[in-house]
């Protein structure tokens, strides 16, 4: 796959911009589904192409760190770059203020500069430790083929003004209303206008809801109402071909309702911060210093198929490349005892035993 592509990746941009014939930012997937990008190239690759159109993505927040905001920001920015209508709801008083913090796509020149070392590594075929670069190469190929499908975002640079202009961006504060009816109403009108103006699905839209059951909202104790809202939203998203991302703090939902929420999600992701000074974990994992947190994929949307998606790994480390772009990597065990390159769990009990070497096999 890699060898079939021309080496000069700097030319790929022009080719692809001419070749995008279909809906911008939408990629066809298997079983008659389509994908749109999550705004994080690595996450797209992990999920097999991106978020499936018509799916409900739920992100379980870390109670102490705002890592879910990174996912939401990239998701929303990518939508604005693709000129897709956007609906954003949050428990803040002024949700529109959040738009000012959206990251800006990186210029192609910067993109190239990090592309080159990865490519060289692949050509040299260095052993298993560099397995992660193969993955990166793949995403690079995808990006080369369809340059606009997924951008890298510079988290330090705010999105430029012109991306907002002439676009449909709705913002709602979850705090205003005592129940969820107005929010559902807004979502319905939002999706109705999209599908009406375009007939069949020629355009997709994104819905981002932040911290749905946070205590600032008056309806946070009405658990059945929230469930039926999520159910209605899921049905609406499925029929209109949009993608909805809902983040919520799982600790605030009672345990059996939490399971119901998880069953309702098509794609289920959780983010977790990692403790600052966990020496055992630092010994176990390479690159621990640069890690922002951990991202786990619990469920991947299966629409029009019964085959479950089995991922190679379910937990990934979130890192910032050059303090700008968010990247996800397989967890790499520090090469102490020369065992396999990626570990799937990071439990504390594991770390102790592997260090002292009392594993009896």
């Amino acid at each position: 796959m890699a060898s079939s592509r021309p080496r000069g990746s700097s030319f790929s941009r022009n080719i692809s911009s001419a070749a995008t014939s279909q809906i911008p930012g939408v990629k066809l997937g298997p079983n008659g589904t389509s994908f749109l990008s999550s705004g994080i190239p690595d996450l797209d690759q992990i999920l097999g192409g991106g978020f499936t159109l018509g799916s409900l993505v739920m992100v379980m927040e870390d109670p102490e760190a705002p890592h879910h905001m990174l996912l939401l920001r990239n998701f929303m920015s990518q939508g604005l770059v693709h000129k897709q209508p956007l609906l954003y709801a949050s428990p803040e008083r002024d949700p529109r203020g959040f738009l000012g913090t959206l990251p800006s796509p990186m210029a192609s020149k910067e993109e190239k500069s990090h592309e080159r070392p990865a490519e060289q590594d692949v050509n040299l075929r260095i052993a298993w430790q560099y397995k992660k670069y193969f993955g990166e190469q793949n995403s690079e190929v995808q990006r080369g083929g369809k340059a606009e499908y997924c951008n890298d975002f510079d988290l330090r640079k705010p999105l430029e003004r012109h991306f907002y202009s002439g676009q449909r961006v709705d913002c709602i504060s979850l705090r205003d209303s005592p129940n969820l009816a107005p929010l559902l109403e807004r979502c319905l009108t939002f999706s109705a206008q999209i599908s009406k103006s375009d007939g069949n699905i020629t355009c997709t839209s994104r819905i981002a809801i932040q911290s749905l059951c946070s205590p600032q909202c008056d309806f946070s104790d009405k658990e059945w109402d929230m469930l039926s809202f999520i159910r209605s939203l899921k049905g609406m998203v499925r029929s209109s071909g949009a993608v909805a991302v809902i983040s919520f703090p799982p600790s605030l939902v009672s345990p059996n309702f939490l399971k119901r929420w998880q069953h309702l999600a098509d794609t289920l992701i959780s983010v977790k911060a990692i403790p600052d000074e966990d020496k055992e974990l630092a010994k176990l994992l390479t690159g621990y210093q640069d890690m922002l947190g951990l991202l786990s994929v619990h469920k991947v949307a299966r629409i029009n198929t019964q085959v479950p998606a089995i991922l190679e790994a379910t937990t990934f480390s979130m890192k910032l490349r050059k303090r700008r772009a968010l990247v996800l990597e397989c967890l790499n065990q520090a090469p102490v005892d020369g065992s396999s390159g990626s570990s799937y769990g990071t439990s504390g009990s594991c770390s102790g035993s592997s260090k002292t070497g009392n594993l009896d096999f």
Binding site: S239, H298, I303, N304, I310
Partner: protein, 236 residues
């Protein structure tokens, strides 16, 4: 090859003699929807004249249609409507009417009523699980009258706390066959997607006077058009 393997589930479930109640239970990690698809496929096979009354809360019908098209070679059409929310009583009325119509037609056919899934029905009923239970009991009466079968899907892990228990316990008690889909204790693997536990209350083996219902346990691997069932460790 394919039929030989599919038989492991059918073997465990046994040959149905008239109406039976099958409860499928799954959890977040492992979906049990493929068991529903299996029943759908069996009933809607071109050779059979069986009828399915399908009540879908989880997915639009296009989703099931697409899956079934891969499993059954001929093109089939599912006629039906997505479940509405104007009360379970109206829904029951519709089911009863459909069952009545189909059983009055000539030819012996079994009618299967399927619900995907019961927990979403609870959401539609705004959390009153008693109403859902009533609804299920109403449906069970159709079994005596018309000899219908029932296949329902529910999520076992939702009902972990005590106040939610009656629904799952009662439906388990009333079921003839309970099929549980669980992940492997060691996590998911690409060649084994999970394990099925089938409890068949009908096929009791006589052990010294007392009857014991039969439990079978095997692994499965879901594929696009069929599912592989095999005993642990016997997969080639």
């Amino acid at each position: 090859m394919e039929t030989a393997r599919a038989n492991l589930l059918e073997e465990a479930v046994g040959v149905s003699k008239g109406g039976r109640v099958v409860v499928v239970e799954d959890c977040v990690e492992t979906s049990g929807a493929f068991v529903l698809h299996h029943y759908l496929k069996r009933s809607l096979h071109p050779d059979s004249s069986d009828v399915v009354v399908f009540i879908a809360f989880a997915h639009p019908f296009s989703h099931y249609e697409r899956i079934l098209r891969k499993m059954v070679s001929s093109r089939l059409v599912i006629n039906g409507r997505e479940a509405r929310e104007d009360g379970l009583l109206a829904l029951y009325g519709e089911i009863e009417k459909a069952v009545e119509i189909y059983s009055s037609l000539e030819g012996s056919r079994t009618i299967t009523i399927m619900i995907d899934d019961v927990s979403l029905m609870e959401v539609a009923a705004n959390g009153s699980s008693n109403h859902v239970l009533d609804f299920l009991h109403y449906c069970y009466t159709l079994r005596a009258k018309y000899g219908c079968s029932f296949v329902t899907l529910n999520h076992e892990d939702i009902y972990s706390s005590a106040n939610m228990l009656p629904l799952i316990l009662q439906s388990e008690y009333l079921a003839d066959v309970i099929i549980k889909a669980e992940p492997l204790a060691t996590g998911l693997a690409s060649d084994v997607h999970g394990q099925l536990t089938v409890l068949n209350k009908e096929s009791v083996c006589d052990l010294g006077g007392g009857s014991i219902s039969k439990v079978r346990n095997f692994h499965f691997r879901v594929k696009e058009s069929y599912v592989d069932y095999f005993y642990p460790g016997t997969q080639t």
